[in-house]
Amino acid sequence: MSEYEVVIGLEIHAELKTKSKMFCGCDASFGGEPNSKTDPVCLGLPGVLPVLNRKAIELAIRLAIALDSEIAPNSIFHRKNYFYPDMPKNYQISQYDLPLAIGGHLDIDVGGEPFRVGITRVHMEEDTGKSVHASESGRIHGAEYSLEDFNRAGVPLVEIVTEPDVRTAEQARIFMQELRSILQHLEVSDGKMEEGSLRCDANISLRPRGESEMGVKTEVKNMNSFRALSRALEYEIVRQTDLLESGGKVVQETRHWDADGNVTTPMRTKEYAFDYRYFPEPDLVPLEPSLEFLDEVRTALPELPQERRRRFQEDYSLPAYDVGLLTASKAMGDFFEETVRAGAPPKAASNWMMGELSAYMNAMNLEIEDIIVSPRQLAKMIELVETGVISGKIAKSVFEEMLRGGKDPDEIVKEQGITQISDSQELERLIAEVIKENPESVDDYRGGKEKALGFMVGQVMRKTGGRANPQLVNEMLKRSLEGE
């Protein structure tokens, strides 16, 4: 074990799932033609006034409640002043010393052990525009000029700042996964790291074990997947350890995670310490959420992942492993519940989702939302297996075809004539054939070699094109061999 203790604090930004932007009525949805979702407010034209989106406040409060964060009776907005072309107003409306909510915590499960991460604050701010850097390398420096698309400018964000409680890259990743799950379950945010609707920066420093004072930290940015988050932090832990152990010093700076090169490199943005000259936003009046409003939000709070996990375990008697995977994202859990509601036994539904479905999603790099098979279709297919119409093996190829073409399982079965052979006369005939064709295996089996039976079962299955129930063939074959 290293003689250093790792100290990590996270800063997370999540785009809120509102229809319109935070301070104007522009469409807040992702994508679209560049600069097609802007108006005088989010373009920072003179003489306009921002007006706060009620839904954005409600969503941020939902999250604050879920994190046990204390909603401030009075909070205000500040202007964060800086010149960067992604913000047309030259300031970002954010919160400063009177944020929406203070304190709180999130409990995570690290390898079966509960671990609590403290929350410092939850506040609101607006997103910036998107810069496209016109350069060959794609990296910021070296660009000749930059292009700006302000469709994202003014989209509401919630920022979550954690206490410096995290000690390992794994804890950081699990924390982010749990937070994303909460954001999705509460319908506060899409939580798509790759699309940028969920972002995470980390402050990381090392200190000698037992030391209470913090070491010099670096801020790591551009970690846009869970994998990037773990790897960037692991890299940074090794880098700082090596520096300190060789008698060097960590320089306080912002570092950029380069996923292709597997390294963090210093960013040149902080040549000067930023001086944001925060001051209260004069165009927005204070926010004082009434107790009635808070009660309303609390009462209507959707089911949290923790509650869902408990319910899945109790109602469906699923093992913890299944439950963990099925509740990792809200859409996955929803798909599972709809499949069960459509009549599938829970364990069978879970097996198909964790097995074939997940394998397909991984191979094709798809999310559950992209899957064209409906829960009802999956339930129908499971029913075909349960009632013996198709074998489990055939079901796999049927399901694959469903995943690719979205057809109903019964249609595929009918088209391809792949119903299971349950006609025992037909099976008897094939078994007799196999016994006749493989006298050596028959002798081997009778001589006590169990393996030989498996071989003959395989031969029968081959003759049926996989359309027999192997269990049944096994029993019938045994009977034939021992009966003679």
Binding site: N35, S36, R54, S135, V285
Partner: protein, 93 residues
């Protein structure tokens, strides 16, 4: 006391290019402003709530409804430089 360095720093933050004469003048003027602020600071405000806003208003909000945006052409009509539907800005860093 405001000195020349402070003025240069504030000017840099605001991306202002000041002449020597302006730096001189603004140093004096800002110093006067701060001197006035010092007077206010001498008052005992320990019992007074900070006043971020002077209006007797709170919780002014709108419903989450999409309103028409500007057209791309309108949005870009004041841009000194554009490329396609993007604003072109000087390279960053």
């Amino acid at each position: 006391m405001i000195d020349r360095k402070d003025v240069e720093y504030v000017a840099w933050l605001a991306r202002l290019d000041l002449s020597e004469e302006e730096k001189e003048r603004f140093t004096r003027q800002l110093d006067n402003v701060l001197e006035h602020a010092q007077k206010i600071k001498s008052l005992d405000t320990s019992e007074v709530e900070p006043t971020p806003h002077v209006l007797p208003l709170k919780n002014v909000m709108r419903d989450d409804e999409i309103k028409p945006s500007l057209s791309q052409e309108e949005a870009l009509s004041n841009a000194p430089h554009r490329e396609g539907a993007y604003f072109v800005v000087p390279r960053i860093l």
